[in-house]
Structures are given as C-alpha cells and as structure tokens.
C-alpha cells in the first residue's frame, strides 16, 4: 500500500462525516493529501516538522465538537515524540492521529528512520496512554481501523505501514490562504479584532 493509496482511503472513509478537519505533516504527507483530494478542511503545513500531531491536539481541545484527523509521518513524529505523552495525558476523545510509517525520511531522499531498525510507534503510543492504537499493513486493515476510529472514542493512534509514493504535485496555496480556507471550512472565524470595534 503506497502512502497515496492509503491517503485516498482516509479521504474516502471521512467523506460521510462531512468536511472534517485533516492536518497534514509537511512534505510528502501534505502533497499526497492534496493529490488525493484538495478538501477545504485540509490544513497543509509547509514547515514546522513534527508539529502536525500537536496542531491536531490543540484543535481537538479547542473544538471538542469536531473529530480531528492528523496525517503524520514516522520521521516527523520521532522529532516530537513528547507529543504522544501530551496526547496520552490530555486524552482528547476526538483526536485521530494516523502515522504514515514508510521507515524513511521520504521527503528528504529516503534516509532510514528509527522505525526501520525496530522502533515501534504503536508501542510508544500505548506506553504513554495515547490509545486506542492499531498498526495496519494492508488496505483492508486500514479501512477497518478507520471505521472504528471514526466512531469510537480516542485519542486514536493508527500506525500505517506504507511505501513511498513519490508525489508529483503540491498545493498551490500560501500559508495564510490555507489557514483562512481551513477555518472557514470548519465554521470558525478568526478571533482577532481586524475590522472590529476600534
């Protein structure tokens, strides 16, 4: 299963939920999400490696009425492994973190990550209480895990073993445009006072 195939399955599984938020890690996970479907509720990150799960956590805390999905990478999550501990502590029921584990830094040329040498991200999540969890290696297993994660209380951590899909397209949006489109899609006005009372 390539990461793009798997991304398409996530988008298909979420379709019946409406325009639910998906936060994508920088580089290839963002590019594959754009290629799978340029949904307005996609939050593409152009930087801040490692922080996709943190952004998802903050959004899930601020908007408990939304189910928040994160598409992270193994290399990115390894950069911010403490995020799992914070998720395990705060336990937002409405957060679903999907980790594309291709055992490499795919965006930077395919250097191996620690998961190629035995690091088990699902076990790490479990160890800090970020659960329920799953590790999936096939399209059917991914679909089955998603079907549960869409309805059952989280925080979910789903580690999906994928192969690199070498994306060929990037979202043609700058950062502010991404933010504004995303916030409008989830029914959120910016809380600032631009154009406000003074």
């Amino acid at each position: 299963m390539t990461r793009l195939d798997a991304t398409r399955r996530v988008v298909a599984a979420l379709e019946r939920l409406g325009n639910v938020p998906i936060v994508a890690s920088l580089g290839h996970p963002t590019y594959d999400l754009y290629t799978a479907s340029d949904r307005s509720a996609n939050f593409y990150t152009w930087g801040s490696m490692g922080l996709a799960s943190s952004i998802g956590l903050g959004l899930a805390m601020a908007r408990p009425d939304l189910r928040v999905f994160v598409l992270d990478g193994d290399g990115s999550l390894l950069m911010n492994l403490g995020s799992l501990a914070t998720i395990g502590w705060t336990r937002p029921q409405n957060l679903v973190v999907i980790v594309w584990d291709n055992q490499e830094y795919g965006t930077t040329g395919g250097q191996q990550t620690a998961t190629a040498h035995g690091t088990d991200l699902e076990a790490a999540a479990k160890a800090v209480g970020a659960a329920p969890t799953a590790t999936v290696k096939s399209p059917d297993a991914l679909d089955a895990a998603l079907a549960r994660a869409i309805v059952e209380p989280g925080p979910w951590v789903i580690v999906a073993k994928v192969s690199e899909s070498t994306p060929s397209a990037k979202p043609p949006l700058d950062c502010v445009a991404i933010k504004q489109r995303f916030m409008a899609a989830i029914g959120q006005t910016e809380p600032g006072t631009i154009g406000g009372s003074q």
């Binding site: 938020p21 801040s48 700058d174 809380p191």
Partner: protein
C-alpha cells in the same frame, strides 16, 4: 501563599484579553502565574507541553479552533521554539500571546542562562516577533492585556518579557538594609 502582584497582573491581563487556553513549559517564576490561574481563573485551561516547540504547535491548533491561546515559557526555551514560530506562526499569521519568563538578565546567578537571555530581544526582532517588557509589577496586567490585544488584533504573535528584577523578589537581607 502570597500572590505576587506581577503574577496576578499577568493572569488578569491575559484573561481580560480573552485568552482561556494557556500552554506552558514551567519555570519557577511562572509557577506563581499557574497557581493563580488554578485558584482564581477556573475558566482558563492550562496544558503542559513536553517542550516549548510543542507548546506553540498546540497553541496554533487552538487558534485554528477559535481560541486566543497563550504560551508561557522560560527564555531558555525560546531556542527550542524557533522552527515552530518561524515556519508556522509567522507565515500562517497565527497569533499566540507569548509570555516569557526571563533568565540571564540582571540578577542572574547561572552563567549557562546568560547567552540566550542576552539574545532574546535580538532573536525576536530578527524573526519578526514584537516584544514588550513588563517594567513594573503594577503595570503587568495592562502590559499583557495590550500585548494580547495587539497580537490577536493584528494576527501577529507577540511576546511579553518578564524580567527577573520583577519576578524574583530580593532576598530578605537586601530589603532589611534599605
């Protein structure tokens, strides 16, 4: 326990600006702020992050969800935060009220704190983060409130610096001599 005026002011200022989420990595002076929030502001949710960069990521997500988030950290943690600030908060124009407890400024005893303490303002200037220093304990509330108003109003992350001459009380012998 006593409630230092500066710490009560920080709480009042961020609350008056509508901030109801505080994400933090603790330090000693900030412990006063966190205690006052817990005791007097039950509508403010505080969340511990494992690292300052993570705190800014969580705060960014909170802003996307409609909150006006505050991040509190020690100045030593600014270095841990720079990629989050420069590649997320600044380009996406995601405002976070940032309260920085200073180390390495006047009164510091630990030389390992001095290099970053000396660099904080220059770093903020270099990456486009407006900063204001709380000059007196009595002005803390208004300084923080105005910094928050500017940050959220202009969608620009801004920092409030809390110098040690305010956050760390003089030892008993110093005041006895005066």
């Amino acid at each position: 326990m006593t409630q230092p005026e500066w710490a009560a002011g920080v709480c009042a200022g961020l609350h008056a600006a509508g901030s109801r989420h505080v994400v933090y990595v603790p330090d000693n002076p900030l412990s006063h702020v966190l205690r006052i929030l817990r005791e007097r502001y039950p509508d403010v949710r505080t969340t511990v992050a494992t690292r300052e960069e993570e705190a800014f990521g969580i705060a960014a997500g909170m802003y996307l969800g409609g909150a006006r988030p505050t991040v509190m950290l020690q100045s030593s943690g600014l270095g841990n935060s720079l990629n989050a600030v420069t590649s997320l908060l600044v380009p996406y124009r995601i405002p976070v009220l940032t309260v920085i407890s200073m180390r390495g400024d006047t009164g510091e005893w630990n030389e390992a704190q001095v290099p970053m303490g000396r660099a904080v303002r220059a770093i903020c200037d270099a990456i486009g983060i407006p900063h204001v220093t709380v000059e007196t304990a009595a002005s803390a509330a208004e300084t923080v409130r105005l910094a928050a108003q500017t940050a959220f109003g202009t969608r620009t992350t801004g920092a409030c610096l809390l110098p040690r001459r305010i956050t760390v009380p003089p030892p008993p012998h110093a005041s006895a001599r005066a």
